[in-house]
Symmetry: C2
Subunit: 373 residues, 2 copies
């Protein structure tokens, strides 16, 4: 059946860019952090994939809400919330950071922006990290202000991103290192602009800090890109799966720990720093994780969307499950992300995937990002 | 333009009843607590309204997730989280309870089910109360287990609810008092069944505690209601607005306190108990709230959906805003819920509403629930 329509209300918040994406014919939405996320325009996911890999796109990612920590205990709270060592972090740095609970279960995977020694934004995936941070601070008696500022990210993604961003913000943006941010002037405001984004095609995220300027910011970028084949876009499932970009709530839940999610390089696995879940995570690290998120490449016709995890088997044994999957025009097969048991996670292991349509499909385990042979 | 379609994924969770509502032609979804909420079937909202007031409906409200508190400090944590005095609460009682933060801002408005002296479910509106509770417990060193159990409410609503529920659960359900719950056998399980629900038409909420039984539970009720004109349904916006039932995220946010939300009768406004936000709430209570959620009844053609608060004025002064609104076939006018400043909140105060389509509409303030003259 056709996907049912999304019923709108104040609770499912619009963004500063909603009027623009609606004028451009947005065809689907998702909901992230109580905010609508455009998920498709007039072209197919495949056409969008090739466009993203060739040109430049504007993505309304206002749903990436910021949890602001500010004050004397801000740095302490930020470190308490993540296994990533924030000790050497510099102002102007973006840090991808797993957040975990006392059992080492994943709670979120934000990008942390260090704005000052006592000032952080956590640019979050879909969960109310604000409530987690407030609860920890209130329960623990910390001296820190926690709130959701009037900040609405807009992403510029694709190989022509540098050219487009430079036309609007000046050539200085070209100098930003990967996961670095600076302040760039727009209409008299100094906006945080970071070299980051939820694709492997390069680009920027602009942290607009005034809702009312959204239309102007969108229009300025849109007009500057007229000769660059600019298009509205959104996180592209094919590109994300091939690139091994995880999605909280899809690949990762509280039932998964960061080592299982392949995030060990973001975890300080000794007692040099203190953070929630450290003892649990160190115990898991002793033997290593029993399973790991991997790529899978599998055959048959184009698979349906993955709403419920799909069982993966090998030699008749159930060895894991797929959490996201889609047809890849580049591999000319289906590609997916899957949680796979240790004895089976080597690349090229032969597997079977039972998709939601009941079909058994033959395939293999793959590295992430996926590399075409 | 037509409402864009909702893109599905594992992250936007299906419920045990999703297959049934899809087979019955669900036409729209909302998203609550990372879970899909059916919001319309083959009939109009008006037709659904009359049906709900006359017959009986099954509502997939699996999105009303449960936050379970269990253990020695469970009662202490529950009381810390709400201004409502839980001291006299009995096992088997449902308690509507505002949750507030340290500034007395609304965080949620769950129904708390007291299952045992050390065991509670918070049946929540749209926000991750689980993270709030876990943060408080971890920060404060409380001895309590907090989790989201495998519990998926299904609502039976409408005047024929007693007859339908009695056919499936026995005549004992007829004896349940309003906001009381008991345990009733279904397929060998003792399910919590409460006399409650998000309408003013009476009915029950069944707390199914095993996902896999969802289809059987739905089918048993559906078949038992064949001669009762049973229908699939969902919270009805006309009925909810006329009945003055608030929606967290629409009428209430962290920027609003419970006195402004008309929830003073659920707040212990002295120092006899301790809870988060008590000092802030007592300060607000000294002078009383400066504004209050009220009904509004206003003219013009059927209004559009309210996505952004609509300004309300009186005598040229802005005095509040509408947060939910829809055409009422019973009043033959538009009805809405609005936050209104103190000097203007008396019933029959003349107002103007500027709706999202740019129209100025004349109307009046109304009591809640709304009473037709």
């Amino acid at each position: 059946m056709a996907a049912p329509r999304l019923q709108v209300s104040r609770r499912l918040r619009a963004t500063p860019y909603t009027s623009r994406v609606e004028a451009l014919g947005v065809s689907g939405y998702s909901v992230v952090n109580h905010t609508i996320l455009p998920k498709g325009f007039r072209r197919s996911v495949e056409e969008d994939y090739w466009h993203l890999k060739t040109h430049v796109q504007l993505w309304d990612v206002g749903c990436q809400r910021q949890v602001e920590l500010r004050g004397p205990d801000a740095a302490h709270l930020a470190q308490w919330m993540t296994p990533r060592d924030l000790g050497g972090a510099r102002v102007g740095q973006c840090l991808y950071a797993p957040l975990i609970d006392e059992r080492a279960g994943m709670l979120n995977d934000p990008i942390i922006l260090k704005l000052a020694e006592d000032h952080f934004w956590l640019s979050i995936a879909d969960a109310d990290v604000l409530l987690w941070a407030k609860g920890l601070a209130l329960g623990g008696g910390l001296d820190v202000e926690i709130g959701e500022p009037d900040v609405w990210p807009l992403a510029v993604q694709g190989p022509k991103s540098d050219e487009l961003a430079a036309r609007v913000f000046g050539n200085g943006v070209r100098e930003l290192p990967f996961f670095g941010f600076g302040r760039f002037e727009f209409r008299g405001r100094d906006l945080v602009v970071a070299r980051s984004g939820y694709s492997r095609q390069g680009g920027f995220e602009i942290y607009l800090d005034r809702f009312e300027l959204g239309g102007e910011l969108w229009d300025a970028l849109w007009q500057a890109g007229a000769d660059l084949d600019i298009s509205p876009g959104s996180p592209n499932l094919i590109e994300r799966v091939e690139g091994g970009l995880l999605s909280y709530g899809n690949e990762m839940t509280r039932a998964d720990n960061p080592l299982e999610c392949g995030l060990g390089r973001y975890c300080q696995l000794d007692e040099s720093i203190d953070y929630i879940g450290r003892d649990a995570l160190l115990r898991i690290a002793e033997d290593g994780p029993a399973r790991l998120i991997r790529g899978v490449i599998f055959g048959g016709d184009a698979c349906p969307p993955c709403q419920h995890p799909w069982p993966v088997s090998s030699g008749g044994r159930e060895i894991g499950y797929v959490t996201s999957a889609i047809w890849s025009p580049r591999f000319e097969q289906n590609v997916g992300l899957a949680m796979i048991a240790r004895d089976y996670w080597d690349a090229a292991t032969e597997i079977r995937v039972r998709s939601e349509d009941g079909l058994e499909r033959q395939g293999i385990v793959s590295e992430l990002p996926m590399v075409k042979a």
